[in-house]
């Protein structure tokens, strides 16, 4: 069972690499959105420092949103989703495998790109650790909740816009705790409480999201 699971993760990673450009596009979009903010609010370092963590988080959230609609769509179109549903593995674990692959190709690269953007945005030096740690905990939640939205809208016309409408409100807690972790660290406070909240949400999402997404996928399959 765990062998099948790992093979599924590897298959999705391979597909992402061969089809090319997926992660690179998200990162480019991420950098692009962040670089709009200095143009919008002005280049004063104090202003940028004040909004740095929030901007980076919002941009990361948008990049994840953009990447969600292909999560199950390609597999539905070429019929491999039907094959995946026939695996001896429960569909919820198939979803989990695909979510892990999604995180490895979007959330993780975004987290790795975040320090660079921190430099561009004059992020306070004390906040880097908190920002990266919060993103490591937070971006998997974005992928998990996103999987529910992607599964619900997989067979739907113009699913992309609908997907963002459904998923964005559910992302708000992650944004709040993620940003306030970095801000607490920047002001020299402990940010462990924020980390604990993010961990709690992640633990809940790991259990609930694959099940809910699997229910939703079954709708697209009949």
């Amino acid at each position: 069972m765990s062998r099948t699971f790992l093979m599924l993760v590897r298959r999705d990673l391979l597909l992402a690499r061969r089809q090319g450009g997926g992660s690179l596009l998200s990162i480019t979009f991420f950098v692009l959105v962040v670089s709009l903010f200095p143009l919008g609010v002005g280049p004063a370092p104090e202003t940028l420092e004040r909004i740095a963590a929030g901007t980076i988080w919002v941009a990361a959230l948008l990049s994840v949103l953009l990447s969600l609609d292909r999560m199950f769509q390609a597999d539905l179109e070429d019929g491999s989703l039907d094959q995946l549903a026939l695996l001896p593995l429960p569909l919820s674990l198939v979803v989990l495998a695909k979510t892990i692959a999604h995180w490895l190709t979007t959330g993780l690269p975004l987290t790795l790109a975040a320090p660079l953007l921190g430099l561009l945005m004059q992020l306070s030096p004390d906040a880097y650790g908190a920002l990266i740690a919060a993103m490591l905990l937070g971006t998997p939640i974005l992928s998990l909740i996103g999987a529910i939205g992607a599964a619900l809208t997989v067979g739907v016309r113009r699913g992309g816009v609908l997907l963002t409408l459904i998923v964005t409100p559910l992302y708000i807690p992650v944004l709040i705790f993620g940003v306030s972790a970095a801000e607490a660290a920047a002001q020299g406070f402990s940010y462990s409480a924020h980390m604990l909240f993010l961990s709690a949400i992640l633990s809940g999402a790991i259990v609930i999201a694959p099940i809910a997404a699997a229910w939703a996928l079954k709708l697209a399959l009949d």
């Binding site: 529910i148 459904i166 709040i176």
Partner: protein, 247 residues
């Protein structure tokens, strides 16, 4: 509960309940509005603006209550494939969204004289706004599917995911608010409410509840009739096609 999965039985129950709920809604809303707007004394701090409360508070309570009802009927629909529960959830969403919108608009109108601005990122205002977005997403998901049974199940899953998420959102927004906003704004939770304002408020709350029930019954009834009409039309078209083939 399963007795009412049969739409005909549900319609019979609805027809019996409707006159009562409509009468209670009309009486309570009428009495509450007159009492609240003309006879209740103005607040010693807020003056006449306190009367916005008689619309604002019941609307906020109903916005949350309707979502809870929607989530419960979605769960019933998912677990027991209860046909009428789906319709109740579907019919509730626009009503709940409207209550949510009324709550936001009256809150904004109330905020202008009290806080000096139309909008503040107060914890309660913010979580109401997010709730409105969740309602809108739910309604959009219903619209997106051609097949009504699929739409019903997808929407039910979303309603339940939203129900799990709403307390987390509410909590996180409150946490965020206490970090970002000075507490001076939140003067509303100050003195306990006086009896002279409490009675009209209670009347309005009961009135809003009864109004919801009345509109819900109308909407579910319309939905059932619409589906029946569609089935009849499809059957007629089938017969027509069969006759033409025979000729």
């Amino acid at each position: 509960m399963h007795r009412f999965a049969n739409p005909t039985r549900f319609l019979r129950l609805a027809a019996a309940v409707l006159p009562f709920s409509a009468a209670v809604a009309a009486l309570c809303l009428g009495a509450g509005v007159v009492w609240g707007l003309f006879f209740a004394p103005p607040d010693y701090q807020q003056g006449d603006t306190v009367r916005i409360m008689f619309i604002h508070v019941p609307a906020a309570m109903m916005a949350m209550g309707v979502y809870a009802g929607m989530a419960i009927s979605s769960a019933i629909a998912l677990i027991w494939r209860h046909a009428v529960a789906d319709l109740i959830a579907k019919a509730s969403a626009p009503i709940g969204a409207t209550f949510c919108f009324i709550c936001l608009v009256t809150g904004s109108l109330w905020g202008k004289p009290m806080w000096g601005t139309w909008w503040v990122w107060d914890a309660r205002l913010t979580s109401m706004l997010i709730m409105l977005f969740i309602y809108l997403g739910y309604m959009a998901l219903w619209q997106a599917f051609d097949d009504q049974t699929k739409a019903a199940r997808a929407a039910a899953i979303l309603a339940l995911v939203g129900a799990i998420n709403l307390p987390v959102i509410k909590f996180s927004v409150e946490w965020w608010n206490t970090l970002h906003q000075p507490a001076s704004l939140i003067t509303m939770s100050g003195p306990k409410i006086h009896e002279s304002l409490l009675w009209p408020l209670l009347l309005m709350i009961v009135g809003f509840g009864a109004y919801y029930l009345t509109v819900l019954i109308y909407r579910v009834r319309a939905e059932i009739h619409m589906r029946r009409t569609r089935m009849l039309r499809l059957a007629q078209a089938d017969r027509h096609a069969a006759m033409q083939a025979a000729e």
